[in-house]
């Protein structure tokens, strides 16, 4: 049996962990940075600027998470034929 679905899901899980870690770190950095502004309007402007990247990271994380879920499902199905 040459199917290596375990390895695939493990590798994708590691990639997902990197993305999640980045998302968390970026959130902290951008929140700290946004907090430094005194003026509310500037805070909002700067916050939106930081949010763009937070949202993008979140989108990547969600997509990879969904792909991982399906790879795991494939893995479980193929396990039945071992």
């Amino acid at each position: 049996m040459s199917v290596s679905s375990n390895q695939a899901s493990k590798s994708i899980q590691e990639a997902l962990d990197v993305l999640k870690d980045m998302e968390t770190q970026f959130k902290i950095l951008s929140e700290n940075a946004t907090r430094q502004w005194q003026d509310t309007k500037q805070k909002q402007f700067f916050g939106r600027y930081a949010d763009r990247y937070s949202n993008t990271l979140n989108e990547f994380t969600r997509e990879i998470n969904s792909i991982l879920g399906q790879v795991k499902s494939i893995e479980n199905t193929l396990k039945l034929y071992r």
């Binding site: 040459s2 199917v3 997902l16 430094q36 005194q38 003026d39 990547f60 792909i67």
Partner: protein, 243 residues
């Protein structure tokens, strides 16, 4: 520019660090996901081919068993031998699952490639964002007349608790918060000066800006400062601190 109010100029560097991190770590994470899917697809394809071959083998074995059965007129499959028809049924089920998995992986790869195209968009905005943040920081520093590393006023100097060393740009002398105008004087500097006076709870009555130019008069007066002639072409401006 008069609206720019920040507590700490490191705001730009912090966000740059975060955006830079995305540019550095994201490609590796996405590349690993893509290659894992490609490897999985390849492995499933190999398994499909091998299973198809195994089905053909079982078909031949089943045909042979049938032949022997018809020739010998008895049970073709000896006890302990596997039934090729039962094996074929299992292999066909497995082949179906593998083909379904292969199709799903292909769809996942299409989805993944769509995600990958967005990666390029992110990178192009990362460099633009970093350039914009660099420019914003430069503007802020020029406005505040801050060197590259200084982000505040010296709080040391041992001069008895006023909080400002004798050599710094801002000095507390008597009841006055003194500041010597540098090469530029703008609204942001004035705001920062007043903000610093409030933040440090200066026990003074007045803010004084020395060496002002006639070009500064309107800006200073707009901010409630009174211009004072010290000598020929030599002016200062001051403002009483609101208690």
């Amino acid at each position: 520019m008069s609206d720019i109010k920040i507590n700490d100029i490191t705001v730009f560097g912090e966000l740059k660090r975060g955006i830079g991190m995305i540019g550095q770590r994201m490609p590796g994470a996405l590349s690993n996901t893509g290659s894992s899917l490609e490897d999985l697809k390849r492995d499933v394809l190999v398994d499909i081919k091998e299973t198809e071959q195994e089905i053909e083998k079982q078909k031949r074995a089943a045909a042979q068993a049938e032949k022997e059965k018809s020739q010998g007129g008895g049970e073709a499959i000896a006890k302990g031998n596997e039934d090729p028809r039962a094996n074929m049924s299992q292999l066909n089920a497995k082949l179906g699952a593998l083909k379904n998995a292969f199709s799903n992986i292909e769809h996942l790869l299409i989805r993944f490639r769509q995600v990958k195209t967005k990666e390029g968009d992110v990178f192009s905005t990362v460099s633009k964002a970093n350039l914009a943040l660099d420019e914003l920081e430069q503007i802020a520093r020029a406005y505040l007349q801050m060197p590259a590393t200084a982000t505040g006023y010296s709080n040391s100097g041992g001069n008895g608790g006023d909080g400002y060393s004798p050599g710094s740009e801002i000095r507390m002398v008597g009841d006055t918060f003194h500041f010597t105008r540098g090469s530029q004087l703008g609204q942001m500097q004035i705001d920062k000066l007043e903000q610093q006076a409030k933040q440090h709870n200066i026990k003074g009555n007045k803010i004084s800006i020395d060496k002002v130019s006639s070009l500064d008069f309107s800006l200073l007066e707009k901010n409630g400062y009174k211009v004072q002639k010290i000598g020929a072409n030599d002016y200062s401006a001051y403002k009483m601190i609101e208690k």
